[in-house]
């Protein structure tokens, strides 16, 4: 199995959309899970949703968690801390940009790269120049 990805967003639609877009690049090789919106479906974040998404995305190869805004990072951090320590070690939170980070992480994970490699690639996405790439 490959490294899994969790997309945490204040918006359920945004999280689903990023999963859809990144999933196109992953060609079915990567577990991609959305954790968007508050428990009642309004804009917000939910520890329970993040925890469930991590559980679904987690194979023994680890999970990279991407977030949209700062408070989503805070919620994701708390969700990760509450995991049993054996699992916690293979869950990584990243400050990578949500869309580009998820897309390049999905590609990196789909070729069987390690969690370290997937995380590093996602973080580098912050420096991608979209205007020169045009694809």
């Amino acid at each position: 199995m490959a490294v899994g990805l969790v997309v945490v967003s204040h918006s359920a639609q945004l999280a689903e959309g990023v999963v859809e877009l990144a999933g196109q690049m992953a060609r079915g090789q990567v577990r991609l899970e959305a954790a968007g919106g508050a428990d009642d479906g309004t804009l917000g974040t939910s520890i329970a949703k993040v925890t469930n998404a991590i559980a679904k995305a987690d194979s023994s190869d680890g999970v990279l968690v991407l977030v949209d805004l700062g408070s989503a990072a805070l919620v994701a951090e708390m969700a990760i801390e509450q995991l049993p320590s054996a699992r916690r070690a293979r869950i990584r939170l990243t400050s990578a940009p949500l869309v580009e980070g998820a897309v390049v992480a999905a590609v990196e994970a789909s070729i069987g790269s390690s969690l370290d490699q997937v995380a590093a690639t996602a973080e580098q996405a912050a420096h991608l120049d979209k205007l020169s790439r045009r694809a």
């Binding site: 508050a38 939910s46 700062g70 805070l74 708390m78």
Partner: protein, 207 residues
């Protein structure tokens, strides 16, 4: 005079009632510089806390506070859940097994709570957050208790410091939380988190 379990439970009930009453005010502060949900979120969280209280009616104070923390983490939503949740969890750990709180225990509990919030939010004073109300409150409480003041007197000083700290957030530039995305436009507004923090402390009075 020490504060017993009944005092703590009565405080939480007053806090829940105050947050319910003030929910629109807190949300209006949050609407100016955040995502307009602070009042609703805190009200929902404390409503869940009040529903949980009967299950810990016979527990020690540390257990009561830890239960408040876990409940807030899972019900408040947004960043305030983990922040206030961590504060109550840390205070509960620091006061584990306590049946009564002496003034020195109040200092221990508040110190653990403030430390927890600062670590969780990676926040310092001066960043337009709840820390700007809680930090000065802790200093005032500590100073009064060290000088041998009564519990009431120490709490009065802590609340005054929290409310003064809360108003100091008005001219501050936000560098943490949703308001930080507003940059300079966050200046001139009182921080909703500092406001709810001061409110929580105020409800400790008359206990």
């Amino acid at each position: 005079m020490a504060a017993d379990r009944a005092c703590v439970i009565a405080w939480l009930q007053r806090a829940g009632a105050a947050l319910h009453e003030q929910r629109e005010y807190l949300t209006s502060l949050d609407a100016a510089i955040g995502d307009a949900d602070h009042g609703t979120n805190m009200d929902r969280g404390f409503k869940a806390v009040l529903e949980k209280l009967p299950t810990v009616a016979e527990a020690d104070i540390g257990t009561i506070l830890k239960t408040v923390g876990t409940t807030l983490v899972s019900t408040v939503g947004g960043a305030s859940g983990p922040l206030y949740g961590t504060a109550f969890l840390r205070a509960g750990m620091a006061l584990a097994g306590k049946q009564d709180l002496e003034p020195a225990d109040l200092v221990t509990g508040l110190a653990a709570a403030v430390e927890g919030i600062m670590a969780r939010g990676k926040a310092q004073r001066g960043e337009k957050t709840m820390v700007d109300a809680l930090g000065p409150a802790l200093d005032a409480l500590q100073a009064k208790v060290a000088a041998g003041a009564s519990q009431d007197e120490a709490l009065q000083a802590a609340v005054a410091a929290a409310e003064a700290g809360m108003t100091t957030t008005i001219p501050m530039l936000a560098t943490k939380g949703r308001a930080s995305y507003l940059g300079e436009r966050s200046v001139g507004h009182q921080d909703p988190g500092a406001t709810s923090a001061a409110l929580l402390l105020r409800t400790m009075l008359n206990g």
